[in-house]
């Protein structure tokens, strides 16, 4: 649709043209008239599709999944913590070079940037 108002043209409403005058007068009375709702809105609302409802089994299934995930995390976390501590200790014993640190930062940055670009992409 043209958004430039200067380009918009109205039908030639010629006051000297009796048909234009008649159509304009008829149109004016049409615009001024208000049609009472008389139950129309209620009829429209009655034919709208029913609201989307989740299946009854979805909520208990989600609860079970969360419980399983929680149990897994509880079992895995203690060993994960000791593994991370052991690796940090090993790294401290063998200092890494500046080049290795730069490469790791660059790799993490690239991964973060690619992840952000993927999440924020326009469909």
């Amino acid at each position: 649709m043209n958004s430039d108002p200067t380009m918009n043209t109205r039908p030639a409403a010629d006051p000297a043209d009796w048909l234009d005058s008649a159509l304009a007068a008829d149109g004016g009375s049409h615009r001024d008239a208000y049609l009472d709702d008389a139950g129309f809105t209620a009829r429209v609302m009655a034919v709208l599709p029913a609201p989307a409802t989740l299946p009854a089994w979805r909520k208990p299934a989600l609860s079970v999944l969360w419980a399983v995930a929680g149990l897994g995390a509880a079992l895995a976390l203690p060993t994960a913590a000791t593994d991370v501590a052991r690796e940090l200790f090993r790294l401290a014993a063998h200092p890494v070079s500046l080049l290795e640190i730069s490469a790791a930062i660059a790799a993490l940055g690239a991964i973060s940037w690619a992840g952000a670009a993927y999440v924020l992409r326009q469909d």
Partner: protein, 198 residues
Amino acid sequence: MAPPGVADAELIARVVVHDDRHAFSELVRRYQSPIRATLRRMTAGNHALADDLAQETFLLAYRNLKSFRHEARFPTWLHRIATNAFLADARKRKEELLGDRDGDVVDDEDGDGLDAGGAGDGHERAASLKLDLERAMATLSEAERAAIVQCYHNDLTHEEAAYVLDCPVGTVKTHVLRAKQKLKLRLAAWNPEPDATA
């Protein structure tokens, strides 16, 4: 429930994001009158058909509200849906509509036109012209009638009418021109200067 002062855009957002039925009912309440009135005009006074089409219009609007991109005002978008519904229905019922028209409206195909109402005061004359105009409008093709309704009754620009009618601006102008020629011929008796137009 959404108060009447809430902007269309906010109501639309509520419907799209939260499927807010109250917000949608407020939109229907707000625009039922112009949409039904326009459809009554386009269906040449068939109120039952107009209300059915208006109901279909709002149902389609509800289903497609997510695709509404605000490239036009919301009521203009609704008019576009209503006009499409009318033209699609007219194509389906063309035979039936033509039959009705032949039976009770078009009774002087040879171009004598409608009676100018004769004597009477200004009020009677205006009412008589209005009636004759309605009858003459019924003789137009669906596309011509839709163009006249959008341009004169809804006071849209040619560009807005082209958006609503989903056709080029030139086509709208052609429909309006042809419709006016037909109306002038049919309502020739109302022409105050019969010799000036032929």
